[in-house]
Structure formats: structure tokens, C-alpha cells
């Protein structure tokens, strides 16, 4: 079959870089508010019924949202196999921490209300908190490390050796990214709670959301300054690149260079839109959180998620996982993808299924829409979480 020749290899790589962004943003925009809500749970809800209100705003839909995470893993495996192999084995213990935390989350949702015992319920509340806060933090730390570059090397058989350690992942800059990720998702979660819940929990959610928005603005600005000033060094390809080259990361040369992460902005000033949307989204959410325009706040927090994640992507392009130990082995859009044929096949599958997923997800949200408060919980005492 030569069907895949319809789209040339270089273009397919670009499309899959964009789709990688779509997946990450889809994950952060949907599962992200679940994590924000979970991280807020112990702080905005004091009594058992308040906690049930908070949990049931996401109760029926968290499961579908979490699939973005699974799909992210699968799609990176299919479209960017070296990225899948190197990042998950490199960040080995951090990945284990994320998985252990995320395993707790589904169980906590489902099992919490299966017994009335307060100790049982409190234990699962903390499981929900850990299952939400820890992944949000570690994902941010991981992104920070990707921006800084990761200490891995490749031998000629493309076997990877990782030279870093678990604690080496936690540098000041990566922790900054981790906190930015948590505060961004807390803003998103509080926007969701304001829209879907009623009562005291909303008052508290708005308060925490505002604090988180201020924190996120400060951290995003500081992070941007550290990158722009060259404190966080970027990477640059120094050899000739052809977009349709075979996917061998060792076939190019690259160097570490002070402010290389700012190059794309000077070549294409339109890219400034990405960080701008991040700031506008956070500011808009901050200003409107105390108003009653809940849907608008949620739209702004989604915009913030979109802007902040896009900023990382466009700053690094074409790099997707730079190596500090062997810059030549860095993974880029041009040399870390699947084959021409696989990228094409996967694109066809995505074009068929992604619109379907978005359509039925939207329909399910519509069916289950409505404010949750103490009354609705008591009415559905048996079916609610």
C-alpha cells in the first residue's frame, strides 16, 4: 500500500507534534480539573456531606477524563517510541510515584461511600488528595526537567543509559514548574467547583482559586524570566536537518546554548500569543472568580492551561526531549517519531475517533449537567459517591 504517501513524512511529523500538544492539553484541561478538585478537597470541604458535594461534581465523569492520560501514554508509544522509552524509563521512580498515586484515585472515588465509617471515608479522602496533588506536582516537575534537558545517552544500537537520579529531578527550576502545574490546576479545579457546586464549598473554592491564580501568574512570569535570561539553557540543532529523514536521533548534531529556547519567538513573533494566552487566562480567572460568571471563569482557566502548555511546546520546538549528557542524542520532532506508515495509520485512526470521542463526551456531560449541593446528595444517597 502506498496510501501513506498521500501526506509526506515531514508534514506527518509536524501533525503528530501538534497532536501531542492536543493530547497533553486535553489531559490537563479535563483530568486537570479533577486533579484540581481533588487537591482542594481537604481544604474546601469540612463535613462529610460537603466532601460528597465536592466529589460528586466530578464523580460521574472523572473516569472518562482519565482516559486522556492512558491515551497520552498509548499515543506517545505509537507515534514517538523513543520518547516513550527514554522518558518513562529515565523518570523511572517518579513515574512509579505518579502511577501509585493515580491508582489510588479511581479506587478512592468508588470505594469511599461504600462504608459509612468516618475513618474509612477520611482515609479515602486523603487518597484522593494524594492521587490528585502528587501527579499534578510530578508532571510539572517532569516538564521542568524536559526544559532543562535530561541526562541520557544513546549507544549506536539506540540503547539508552540514564545518568541522573530520582532526587536529581528536583532542582529549583523543576520545582517551580511543579508548583506552577499544581497552582494552574487548582485554579482550574476551583473554576469547575464554582460552576458545578453550591454552598460554602464554593465560597472557599473561590478563595483558594484566587490565591492559586496569583501564585500561578508569579511562577509563570518567574519561569519565563529564567528561560529568557538564559538561566535555563536551551538547545539548538547545528547540523542540516531534512524533515523526512529516518527516525535516528543520532543522525544529527546539537548543542546547549544559553537562550536557545527564545529563538522561535524572534523568528515567529506570533508565538508570543502562547504565553500571552497563559497570562490572560490566569488574570481573567483571577478577576472574575469573585463574580458569578462561572462559565466564563472556567473558559479563562482552560485558556490558561492551553497557553501555558503551548508555551513549553513552542519554546522547545523542534526539540521534544533534549539530552544534557549527549546533546546529539536529543529527541526532536524530525528524528524521534514512528515510521511514515505508522504516523499515517495513526492519523487516520485519530481523525475517525477523536471527533467521536469529543461528541459523546460532550453529550454525556450535557446529560449529567446540573448543580450539586447537599440536597441533591441526600436525594441520591444511594447512587452518589
Amino acid at each position: 500500500m502506498i496510501l501513506h504517501e498521500l501526506i509526506d513524512y515531514g508534514t506527518l511529523k509536524m501533525i503528530w507534534w501538534l497532536l501531542l500538544g492536543v493530547l497533553l492539553i486535553g489531559f490537563a484541561a479535563t483530568d486537570g480539573f479533577d486533579m484540581g478538585v481533588g487537591a482542594l478537597l481537604p481544604f474546601v470541604a469540612e463535613t462529610d456531606i460537603e466532601r460528597r458535594v465536592v466529589i460528586n461534581t466530578i464523580g460521574p465523569t472523572w473516569e472518562g477524563n482519565q482516559v486522556w492520560f492512558i491515551l497520552g501514554g498509548g499515543a506517545i508509544f505509537a507515534a514517538w517510541p523513543p520518547l516513550y522509552a527514554i522518558s518513562f524509563s529515565g523518570f523511572y521512580l517518579a513515574m512509579f510515584v505518579v502511577l501509585a498515586a493515580m491508582i489510588l484515585r479511581p479506587v478512592a472515588f468508588k470505594y469511599r461511600s461504600k462504608r459509612p465509617d468516618p475513618a474509612w471515608r477520611t482515609a479515602w479522602d486523603w487518597a484522593l488528595f494524594v492521587g490528585s496533588f502528587v501527579p499534578a506536582l510530578v508532571f510539572g516537575v517532569a516538564v521542568g526537567n524536559v526544559l532543562l534537558g535530561v541526562p541520557f545517552t544513546l549507544d549506536s544500537d539506540l540503547r539508552m543509559t540514564y545518568e541522573g537520579s530520582f532526587f536529581g529531578l528536583f532542582s529549583p527550576f523543576s520545582l517551580l514548574c511543579g508548583l506552577l502545574s499544581v497552582s494552574m490546576l487548582v485554579v482550574h479545579g476551583s473554576a469547575w467547583l464554582s460552576m458545578r457546586a453550591r454552598g460554602d464549598v464554593v465560597v472557599r473554592a473561590r478563595r483558594f482559586g484566587s490565591i492559586a491564580a496569583i501564585l500561578a501568574i508569579a511562577l509563570f512570569a518567574l519561569g519565563g524570566y529564567l528561560v529568557a535570561s538564559g538561566y535555563v539553557e536551551g538547545f539548538r540543532i547545528t547540523s542540516a536537518i531534512t524533515p523526512d529523514m529516518p527516525a535516528d536521533p543520532l543522525a544529527k548534531q546539537a548543542v546547549v546554548e544559553g537562550t536557545a529556547w527564545m529563538r522561535n519567538y524572534s523568528v515567529h513573533p506570533v508565538l508570543w500569543l502562547a504565553p500571552a494566552l497563559g497570562f490572560i487566562g490566569l488574570l481573567g480567572a483571577l478577576v472574575l472568580l469573585q463574580s458569578r460568571m462561572d462559565a466564563l471563569v472556567f473558559a479563562f482557566s482552560k485558556m490558561a492551561v492551553f497557553g501555558i502548555i503551548s508555551t513549553v511546546g513552542v519554546s522547545m520546538f523542534p526539540f521534544i526531549l533534549p539530552s544534557t549528557a549527549q546533546p546529539d542524542a536529543s529527541l526532536t520532532v524530525w528524528d524521534a517519531s514512528s515510521s511514515h506508515r505508522t504516523l499515517f495509520n495513526m492519523l487516520v485512526a485519530t481523525i475517525i475517533f477523536l471527533p467521536l470521542i469529543l461528541a459523546y463526551t460532550a453529550w454525556v456531560y450535557k446529560v449529567l449537567w446540573g448543580k450539586v449541593d447537599e440536597e441533591t446528595i441526600e436525594k441520591d444517597n444511594h447512587t452518589a459517591y
Binding site: G74, F77, P82, V107, P246, S339
Partner: protein, 534 residues
């Protein structure tokens, strides 16, 4: 025993996969049973069927969520523990996993929320549609996972590319319609259906022994025995299809299942019981049934099935060829642009056996200069331990026939309207049904053991040895995560079983129409069953 990275990584994968598959089969079968019961409800409008869906749905939910939780690990641990595998075959293997997410898992996970929370928000038909979406999503999920697994057993539609140092898809169609994957899919989902049927049968039998929830228990038993009967037949018949495919593609797996050391004249006999000895390379003792093996594996009277020793001899030729391929590949990788066309040609000629070349790497750094002893050792490394293979397979098959027997008996009593006879005069049958609840899980786990352990030493059959596929990790790291997963999963399993038993004891909502059960009758029978304590 000193465990290295390979052993520990295998142990971790086995542990997480076997745990995952404690929850998956019940999800596969129960989702279909729920959709079937709800269809009856919508068609007849009888409330009792809705109460059945809600009751079995509660148990489904308790189980489902752990399937989801343990499935998370599966999606990522290829990258975590098997980085070189991921790099080497991600181009082929990643696609079915991603499509599973796109096509199946999104469907099931999105609609499962509606299943639990949508009763008052949807019309009857709307809710029924949601339930079917969950069932379809779940089963499609299994399809894509088994396409991925089937490819590891029988890697079709892909070629090795020295410029990217990995296998790349040459025909996606072949990967999808891999006969091994298709046979595995139907066998595996049937196993899931049997699991759910035996689960429902056992719990219903327990209620009948207790004289509780009789209306719901009898209906559940009728539906479970019919569904279970069809599935148990299909799991055995389609399992036989898997055996046939294995003979075509994985002759060593078949030979070790049968503890067949030497090639016999066709049709080969079947070892009913044997005591294989790996060191002596023979069976210390065996009870043979003539002709049966040849008939099952080749479906003919005159096709010879090669024994283990003959297969090892074949491997030696391929190992020598593989060493040449490996050597040429090293030259290509050292200087991809300048290397001569003759080297590339040498590689192409021997590329099919490259995987066998890797088998020498544990014994020598220069495969091309391997000694006869090294080649012999590498060739014998293609034989998995025979004893566990032999018995795991027989336990699975014995369970399979037992399920056919059980479901036939119960199907007879329910279809002839004699379930009350069971309750009054054949209580021992109900007791057997209760105690049989764990057996389908045993059979499933044995089946996976045979499938995966029987593929060793390969992670991708004849293409990449497991020992070459691991990540560059330290023993401490893998031990740490292994201990972490064991602790976490075991805790969650205990919580799950406790909750299951609690909700089984609470039982379904009988509504108002339920007759008052003759409690006295249940209590006077000696040895009346009680569930194991929490």
C-alpha cells in the same frame, strides 16, 4: 538465588499483569450480562430485571474500578521496564495500544459514568444504550490489547530497519488480521464470559442455599448458565484453535506444553501426566494417550510434530545465521553512510535470524566467533522450563471441561424449570457452584502463564529476546517498584474482596413482590453453606 534486572523486570510484569487479569475477565463478561439483563428489562418492562442490573452492577463497579486502576500501570510499564523493547517495536506495538484508547477505553470509561449515574437522567432506552456502550467498549478494548499481544507471539506485517534500529510496520492489515491475535481474542473474551457466568452462578447458588432473594437468584442462574454454557464450549473449542495456531507459529511452546522431547511418528501421542526432567531432557515418567496430540495440533493423521530436541537443532542453524546478521548490523550502525553495499546485502540476507543472533550475547561479545558450546547453550536457552508449562496447561484445560459440565447441569435444571428441585433435593450441586467461584480465575491465570512463559526466551517471538529488551535500571530501582506494586495491589485486592463480600451479603433489593422464603427449610439442611468470613 540472585535476581538480575531481567528476572526482576519479568517478575514485575508478571505480577502486575496477573493482578490486572484478576479484574479484567469479570468486567468483560459481566458487562455483557448486564447489558443482556437490561435489554430484558427494557423489552418486558418488569422491574425485577432492573433490580438485577442494579445489584450485579454494584458488584461490577467494585471490580471495574480495580481493572482501571491496575490497567494504568500496564500502559506505562513497557516504557518504564522495557525501554529497549519499546524503542525496538514501538512502531508496530504502540499503534494497537493507542487505538485501544481511542476506540474502546474512552467509550467504556465515558459511558460507565452514565451507567451508574444516569438512571434518572436518561430514558430507559437511553440508559440501555449506555450500558451496551460499556459492554462494547470493554470487549473492543480486549480486541486491541490482544492484537498487540498476538503480535508478540507471531510478529507479522513488520520488517527490521537498520537505519532506525527497530522493526517497522510493512502491512498494518497483517498486524490487525493476525490469525494468532484473532484466535487469542475470541479465546480470551470467552474466558471472561465463563468467569462472569460462574461468578453469577455461584452467588445465585449461595442465595438459593440461604433461601434469600430467590426470584432474582433463579433468573440470574438461568441467564448465567445459558451464557456460561455457550461460553464454556466456545472457550474450549477456540482454545483448541489457539493450539492449532501455536503449532503453526510457536512449535516450541507446543512441544513444552506436551513435554515432547523427541519427534514421534505421526500422529503423536498425548502425555496425560508426565514428570519432565530439564537436566536429563526426558520424561522420568509419563502416561500417554496414542494419536490424540497429532490430531489436535495438526488436524491430520500424517503431519509430524517436531519435538523439543529437533527444534533446538533447528535453532542452531538460525543462531549461526543470526550471528552473521548481528555482525553486519554492527558495521552498518557504526557508519551508516559509508558502509558498503555488500555489508547491507549480507545483513538483508540474514536479517530474518537477527533475533537468534542476540541469543548469543549472554555467552559472548562476538557472536560471529561463537564456539559450538556457546551455540549449543544459546540453542537450549530457547526451551522454557517444561514442568510448569506442562501442568499449567493441564490445570487450565481441566477447569475448562469442568465449566462445561457445571454449566450444562445448571442449564438443564434451569431450562426445564427445576431450579426448586435443586434447592430442595440437590443442594450439593449448589454447594459445588459456590466453591467453584475461584476456578475461572485460576484457569485464566494459568492460561496467561502458558501464553507468556511459553514464549520465553522471546519477548517478540524469534525477533527479540527478553533479556535484550530491558531498560537500563538498577536492581534497587526495580526491587523498590516491585515491592511497591505488590504492597499496593495486595492491599487493594483485600479491600476489593471485603467490599464484594459485604455487598453480596447485603444482596439485591427484592422490591415488594418477593415471596417470603421458607427460611426454616434452608436452616434444617445439614451443612448449609455460609460464605467465608470477611
Amino acid at each position: 538465588m540472585e535476581l538480575d534486572i531481567v528476572d526482576l523486570s519479568r517478575l514485575q510484569f508478571a505480577m502486575t499483569a496477573l493482578y490486572h487479569f484478576l479484574f479484567v475477565p469479570l468486567t468483560l463478561g459481566l458487562s455483557i450480562l448486564l447489558a443482556t439483563m437490561e435489554t430484558v428489562y427494557v423489552m418486558t418492562g418488569r422491574e425485577i430485571w432492573k433490580r438485577m442490573v442494579k445489584f450485579w452492577g454494584t458488584l461490577f463497579g467494585i471490580n471495574f474500578v480495580l481493572g482501571v486502576a491496575t490497567g494504568l500501570t500496564m500502559e506505562f510499564q513497557f516504557g518504564m521496564n522495557w525501554a529497549y523493547f519499546s524503542q525496538y517495536v514501538g512502531d508496530v506495538f504502540g499503534a494497537p495500544l493507542a487505538i485501544e484508547g481511542l476506540m474502546a477505553f474512552f467509550l467504556e470509561a465515558t459511558f460507565v459514568g452514565l451507567f451508574f449515574f444516569g438512571w434518572d437522567k436518561l430514558s430507559r432506552r437511553g440508559h440501555l444504550a449506555a450500558t451496551w456502550m460499556v459492554a462494547i467498549g470493554t470487549n473492543f478494548s480486549a480486541l486491541w490489547i490482544l492484537i498487540a499481544n498476538g503480535w508478540m507471539q507471531h510478529p507479522v506485517g513488520a520488517v527490521f530497519n537498520p537505519d532506525t534500529m527497530r522493526m517497522e510496520v510493512s502491512s498494518f492489515f497483517d498486524v490487525l488480521f493476525n490469525p494468532v491475535a484473532q484466535a487469542k481474542f475470541v479465546h480470551t473474551v470467552s474466558a471472561g464470559y465463563v468467569t462472569a457466568a460462574m461468578f453469577m452462578l455461584g452467588i445465585s447458588a449461595w442465595y438459593m442455599l440461604q433461601g434469600r432473594h430467590l426470584q432474582i437468584a433463579k433468573r440470574s442462574m438461568a441467564i448465567a448458565s445459558a451464557f456460561g454454557f455457550a461460553s464454556a464450549l466456545s472457550v474450549v473449542v477456540l482454545g483448541d484453535e489457539s493450539g492449532y495456531e501455536a503449532n503453526l507459529n510457536q512449535k516450541m511452546k507446543l512441544a513444552t506444553i506436551e513435554a515432547m522431547w523427541d519427534t514421534e511418528p505421526a500422529p503423536a501421542s498425548f502425555n496425560l501426566i508426565a514428570l519432565p526432567d530439564m537436566a536429563k531432557r526426558e520424561n522420568v515418567f509419563a502416561i500417554e494417550v496414542p494419536y490424540v496430540m497429532g490430531l489436535i495440533a495438526t488436524r491430520s493423521l500424517d503431519t509430524v510434530i517436531p519435538g523439543i530436541k529437533e527444534l533446538v537443532e533447528h535453532s542452531k542453524d538460525r543462531i549461526r545465521q543470526g550471528a552473521v546478521a548481528w555482525d553486519a548490523l554492527q558495521k552498518i550502525r557504526a557508519n551508516p553512510e559509508a558502509v558498503g553495499e555488500d555489508v547491507r546485502e549480507t545483513f538483508r540476507q540474514n536479517a530474518d535470524s537477527l533475533g537468534y543472533g542476540y541469543l548469543l550475547l549472554p555467552y559472548t561479545d562476538t557472536p560471529k566467533e561463537a564456539t559450538e558450546e556457546q551455540i549449543d547453550a544459546a540453542a537450549w536457552s530457547t526451551v522454557p522450563e517444561v514442568l510448569p508449562m506442562f501442568y499449567a496447561f493441564r490445570i487450565m484445560v481441566a477447569c475448562g471441561f469442568f465449566f462445561i459440565l457445571m454449566t450444562t447441569v445448571f442449564f438443564y435444571y434451569s431450562s426445564s424449570g427445576q431450579l426448586d428441585v435443586l434447592r430442595q433435593k440437590r443442594r450439593w450441586l449448589l454447594h459445588i457452584a459456590v466453591w467453584s467461584i475461584p476456578l475461572p480465575w485460576l484457569a485464566c491465570e494459568m492460561g496467561w502463564f502458558v501464553a507468556e512463559y511459553g514464549r520465553q526466551p522471546w519477548i517478540i517471538e524469534s525477533m527479540l529476546p527478553t533479556s535484550a529488551a530491558v531498560s537500563s535500571l538498577t536492581v534497587t530501582e526495580v526491587l523498590l517498584t516491585l515491592a511497591g506494586f505488590v504492597a499496593l495491589y495486595s492491599t487493594l485486592l483485600v479491600v476489593e474482596i471485603t467490599l464484594m463480600i459485604k455487598y453480596i451479603k447485603i444482596g439485591p433489593d427484592d422490591g415488594e413482590a418477593e415471596e417470603v422464603p421458607p427460611l426454616a427449610a434452608a436452616r434444617t439442611v445439614p451443612g448449609a453453606m455460609t460464605m467465608p468470613a470477611e
